[in-house]
């Protein structure tokens, strides 16, 4: 009842927020074509979840256009036989498609040269069943990566595995973490300069975050960069030159915590990695600090909830910026970093664009880590923007969660303005297409809880829809102007990735199973198709062996937002799934679980 009242109260007159807030930044984006992408995959291929190292998710194929997409029709389907949330992107290399599923993380190879794309082989890594009970937010996997005849992927029980792309034979596997401490792996690897970059999950259990580089040929660890602790662990050395003063100093990963707390400090690396070959820098975000109760960890809690730029060869840090210092709201900094070339006041500038959980789209100079602009793309009550002088987020103190106090209207809610679901960028429209949430939450003391024989009073979060009463949006964002060009309302959070194509079409899926094609410039709905389950996967586009352009997406609801369906949680318990169930009570009636690949094409 409480959340319904809130929704109604706020439903009027706030639609202008998304497009409001004039940006004074004199930032004009030039016409780039994914400059950081080298060597590019074949035009018709899709070899990594974001398609290129710049993380654009832009397909240069032009057969499917905004003029003909309305005729799109199913070409073939493939059932994975797994009912957990399917967040992965299918990969296409030559005449083969590769799909990795949620736990038990089976890797499928489909033969695209044959009618109906039959199964060529499958590889079963057989991860430890115990890892299922550890993963925080469903047992998802965000995809594989291909390079030099090998397919690399992670398993929930902390293994990175290399498989021969032709035969499906195992080449190596590396055990990188320990499920007994609550550690898992769900992210998609990125391959850079012969190294497979992977990171861990598990911050909600106090698992300390890291990014590890493995030799692509052998699986041996080349380096590991921790997200907390002494500089030697974080790989901070002579090259480290952060833009803002607060990030300079010795062993800040120790001194910005109570003594020893960095050892259980989180800062996990479960999101996306980008790479700029010209600057020779990789970029990735770190997750929120632990424990969630911020009163127990005074300090900025470095290097959590921020972004690192590092050298891929050695892992050495070059700069860092903290989106949410001393994070109060579970605002992980792991979202995608899209690398584009921009013109700033007539001067060419290499920037990265990062839509953060804290509700702001950051445009940063990716050479030095300076924040050029940070504009809200949803309703934000937890902060009032970023001080561009100091680089610090300006927190709103009345929204700070405190044990024993009820705090209402915390916006964005814990999953943030957007979560893991990656945006796309079209160099043709110069717009970022952001799939995201529109959620706020109330925080209050819970009833008595009991874990492992220990009673305590926790904090309950109850999430509900933000302004307008809908829970999701798909927003076309102009990073130069710092505002939305258009935004589509969706009933449920948009938990799928986005795809943009050179035919000026953008694609995404909804949690009740609709796969949609929109005009990239106007946002007009051009085509939609109802799949058997909710879509939280990443759409891709490729050219088949027959020369035709295809669009593929995995259907299969789940993830944190969809666990109420895939995990059979009790929808009457509003605090299930860390409070997300309260906002998703109607999802079980709207869709059913089950993983299935859908591939579409134009009629012959």
């Amino acid at each position: 009842m409480r959340s319904q009242n809130h929704t109604q109260k706020r439903s009027a007159g706030s639609a202008g927020l998304l497009v409001g807030g004039l940006l004074q930044c004199a930032l004009a984006l030039a016409q780039p074509a994914a400059p950081a992408d080298a060597p590019p995959p074949g035009e018709g291929e899709w070899t990594m979840p974001a398609r290129d190292h710049a993380s654009t998710r832009f397909s240069p194929l032009t057969q499917i256009t905004n003029a003909n997409v309305a005729k799109l029709q199913p070409a073939f389907t493939f059932s994975t036989g797994v009912v957990r949330g399917h967040e992965a992107a299918p990969l296409v290399v030559g005449g083969t498609m590769y799909i990795v599923g949620p736990y038990p993380n089976v890797l499928f190879a489909l033969d695209l040269t044959k009618p109906g794309a039959p199964l060529k082989w499958k590889f079963e890594p057989k991860p430890d069943a115990g890892s299922q009970g550890v993963a925080c937010c469903d047992q998802v996997n965000r995809g594989a990566a291909y390079a030099d005849g090998r397919v690399f992927f992670n398993t929930l029980d902390n293994q990175t595995i290399a498989v021969d792309a032709a035969s499906g034979a195992e080449l190596w596997r590396a055990k990188l973490g320990d499920i007994r401490i609550g550690e898992t792996m769900t992210m998609a690897p990125l391959v850079v300069k012969g190294k497979v970059l992977v990171g861990n999950s598990g911050g909600e259990f106090g698992v300390r975050g890291w990014l590890t580089a493995l030799d692509a040929a052998t699986g041996k660890t080349a380096w590991r960069a921790w997200s907390t602790g002494p500089d030697s662990d974080v790989l901070i050395g002579a090259q480290f030159k952060p833009f803002y003063a607060q990030d300079r100093g010795k062993d800040l990963g120790v001194s910005s915590w109570p003594p020893g707390a960095w050892k259980i400090g989180g800062g996990n690396v479960w999101g996306w990695i980008s790479y700029d070959p010209e600057l020779d820098l990789i970029y990735y975000g770190t997750a929120n600090p632990g424990p969630w109760n911020p009163e127990q960890r005074p300090g900025d809690n470095r290097w959590t909830a921020g972004i690192f730029a590092r050298r891929p060869d050695t892992g050495e840090a070059v700069w860092f910026y903290q989106f949410s210092p001393h994070d109060l709201h579970d605002y992980d900094g792991v979202n995608e970093n899209i690398l584009i070339d921009a013109e700033l006041g007539g001067k060419a500038r290499k920037v990265l664009v990062h839509p953060d959980r804290n509700g702001h789209v950051y445009v940063m100079d990716r050479a030095n880590g300076e924040v050029l602009s940070a504009q809200p793309f949803v309703k934000v009550t937890t902060s009032s923007g970023v001080d561009l002088q100091s680089g610090r987020l300006r927190y709103e103190p009345t929204k700070e969660p405190k044990v024993g106090k009820t705090i209402r209207e915390i916006c964005p809610a814990s999953p943030g303005a957007k979560d893991w679901q990656p945006s796309a960028y079209s160099p043709r429209t110069r717009l970022i297409y952001i799939p995201h949430q529109n959620l706020c939450q109330d925080s209050q003391s819970s009833q008595v809880s009991y874990i492992a024989g220990t009673p305590y009073v926790g904090t309950d979060a109850r999430m509900y829809s933000g302004p307008g009463g809908h829970r999701g949006r798909f927003t076309a964002w102009d990073p130069a102007a710092g505002k939305a060009m258009w935004s589509k309302e969706e009933n449920f959070p948009v938990w799928s990735g986005a795809l943009a194509t050179a035919g000026d079409v953008v694609f995404y899926g909804t949690m009740d199973g609709w796969f949609k094609a929109l005009d990239a410039r106007s946002g007009a709905l051009l085509w939609q198709y109802k799949t058997d389950s909710g879509i939280i996967g990443q759409p891709v586009s490729y050219r088949g062996p027959d020369g035709k352009q295809y669009v593929a997406v995995l259907s299969g609801v789940g993830g944190w937002a969809g666990a109420v369906v895939s995990g059979d949680l009790d929808a009457r318990d509003g605090t299930a799934a860390l409070g997300f169930a309260n906002a998703m009570k109607d999802l079980p009636a709207a869709t059913r679980k089950g993983g299935k690949l859908y591939v579409f094409k134009l009629p012959d």
Binding site: G206, Q447, A452
Partner: protein, 286 residues
């Protein structure tokens, strides 16, 4: 069901009789009036969580379960699962078992019985340590911020126990050490041993765990109940009951009856495990 088995001595025979209910018309009528008598006492428990339970049945909840099974005349069966995430959902919720021996009274996930004991968080201190001169009793103690104090961090997002929150609110964070459920052995055991070794000046531990591990420690450790402060307003004492599936009123009635009749024996088991207790609230008493 208690009304059909009026005396303790007759209980086993009575249960056997009811087991034959399918062929006895009069007993069947009784069955319809009441819920079906179960064929086993199916207990959900953690396989490695002393002092409560362990898969060798050496915990005090194992002992109470044995007492209960014998009382009901039922074979005792266990469903073992570590209590990390979704314990109730995956055990009772999945119909793999019917009874949890220890849960906080009023636990919303379950239908709970009348409580059978009440305990509190306690300060555990090394009598030779820094806090020895005068035992810690209150969070207003001016020495707290300077002391090395262990607290339990539990569950998802490392939720703090009440003392963890209170210490943070009293600016005692620089020297507070959080112990998570992950690690070698129960966190309470690791905390108590750290106090015994002098690595911590004190720990604030939930009573049953503190009592059990402190009684096994050398040198002897001092336990004093931790008084709840005014801010934040958090309970430090909790009443512990048994839990059954929501709606399983017949089982709850059996357990309530058992707790009332066998309170003395339950108390003796708790004494054996050195569980510190505080009086049940007046309304909770039998």
């Amino acid at each position: 069901m208690s009304s059909s088995c009026p005396t303790e001595l007759a209980r086993i025979a009575c249960a056997a009789l009811l087991a034959l209910a399918g062929v006895l018309p009069t007993a069947r009528a009784q069955m319809q009036a009441d819920a079906a008598w179960p064929t086993a006492l199916r207990v959900c428990a953690e396989p490695d969580n002393l002092p409560y339970s362990r898969d060798d049945q050496s915990g005090f909840e194992n002992r109470i379960a044995r007492l209960l099974a014998d009382d009901l005349g039922l074979p005792l069966q266990y469903e073992w699962l570590p209590d990390r995430r979704g314990f109730v959902r995956k055990t009772i919720g999945a119909n793999a078992c019917d009874v949890v021996i220890g849960v906080p009274a009023g636990d919303e996930r379950l239908l709970t019985t009348r409580p059978y004991y009440r305990s509190t968080y306690v300060f555990v201190q090394n009598e030779t340590g820094a806090a020895a001169a005068r035992a810690l009793r209150s969070f207003d103690d001016a020495r707290l911020p300077a002391l090395r104090i262990g607290v339990q961090l539990i569950g998802n997002d490392l939720a703090a126990t009440p003392p963890g929150h209170v210490l943070a609110r009293h600016h005692a964070v620089r020297h507070v050490v959080g112990f998570t459920v992950f690690g070698e052995g129960p966190p309470a055991q690791r905390m108590v041993e750290a106090v015994a070794r002098g690595e911590l000046d004190a720990a604030v531990v939930w009573g049953p765990q503190a009592g059990y591990f402190a009684s096994r420690a050398t040198p002897p450790l001092r336990l004093t109940p931790a008084a709840a402060p005014a801010d934040p307003d958090l309970p430090f004492a909790f009443s512990i009951a048994m839990g059954v599936r929501k709606g399983d009123r017949a089982m709850k009635a059996r357990l309530d009856d058992f707790i009332a009749r066998r309170a003395g024996e339950i108390d003796r088991i708790l004494d054996e495990y050195a569980v510190p207790r505080v009086p049940l609230a007046q309304r909770e008493r039998p």
